[in-house]
Symmetry: C2
Subunit: 205 residues, 2 copies
């Protein structure tokens, strides 16, 4: 690993622990094992390091799209199968240690970084909600749920629960038991999905 990569890696480590403002360039240089002036041969400023980290994160995450056709097929195999497939796709990316750390950073830095906040709002919140809206509409068409229910409310009711678990973990409990969190996350969101689904489902009751 060359020094540029080391700087990148160490910065993820430190920023996710102490926040951007809580880490100095000297500290990063110290961990890497070079002098702080040498940092500037690789990145033009401290801010540039942060930008590079989030660019990396966004690149990794957006490659992780939800194909609606596939979801529709999964849905035909039953709710359990459908839900498991969907959450596995999302969690596979997240569970890499590096991605966990940047996710923490995303949460704690979003309030004073406009770009980061926009990414969080659009790609992590709005886009998935829209995806769920499509799916609930699909479920209406397949006569799996009641025709009269509000799909947007349903999507939010469903999705925001998991989002709060993420916030709670990354912001309030981090880094206690990342592994355990991911396991519990899966169990809890599945139970929650069932609760929501039960309130609108048609058929056997």
């Amino acid at each position: 690993m060359n020094n540029k990569e080391k700087i990148f890696q160490v910065s993820i480590e430190l920023f996710s622990k102490y926040g951007f403002d809580g880490v100095s360039v000297r500290q990063i240089a110290g961990e890497v094992g070079i002098k702080e002036s040498s940092i500037y041969n690789h990145y033009s400023s401290k801010q540039e390091i942060l930008n590079a980290i989030f660019e990396y994160y966004i690149d990794e995450m957006v490659s992780d799209e939800i194909p609606l056709e596939q979801a529709s097929l999964n849905l035909d195999k039953g709710f359990d199968f459908f839900y498991k497939a969907g959450s596995d796709a999302f969690l596979s990316k997240l569970k890499e240690e590096r991605m966990m750390k940047i996710t923490r950073l995303l949460f704690i830095e979003s309030y004073h970084n406009d770009e980061v906040r926009d990414f969080l709002k659009k790609s992590i919140i709005e886009a998935p909600v829209e995806g769920w809206i499509s799916l609930f509409n699909l479920m209406k068409a397949k006569n799996l749920i009641r025709k009269d229910c509000d799909v947007r409310q349903l999507s939010e009711s469903f999705f925001y629960y998991g989002m709060f678990l993420l916030y709670e973990h990354f912001f309030l409990n981090y880094p206690e038991d990342d592994e355990k969190f991911l396991e519990e996350f899966l169990v809890k969101t599945e139970r929650h999905a069932r609760t929501i689904f039960d309130s609108v489902k048609l058929g056997d009751d």
Copy 2:
């Protein structure tokens, strides 16, 4: 308003906008109209100002308890009445402008202030969840909901939705339309409550 009160008020204003680290003692002094050295006649350090703000907030908030007996009576008058009464109690304190600002501060500072984080976890999250657990147990006893449902999961499924709305507003959208947010918060959480309730209720269907 004397200068100590001015310092207190101005600090709430600035900290909630820019975060604790984003505000200097010079800036506070400038807004108050005194020199920074004069601050130290009233507060021994910048940190002390923050502590005073959160002490004030906690005092105001804990006076706002949920009496289970009253909730039980409200429940007998129907779910709508019951829910409205409960959410009104919570929102009445929150909707004061000053409390809104400190709530924002609570959210953004909780990740690097142990005391604040503990308060958020215990008083804002855990205590209400326990309260809802008691209530759902009560609803079981009154035969309003199914005996076999998991009350903790139900409480979290119910409560975390609202918590995420709060996070979203205070952390990501603040301070856009505080008034509008509170209105929408009421509507959305009520619809959500109905969704959750529908999944477990007994009786007319």
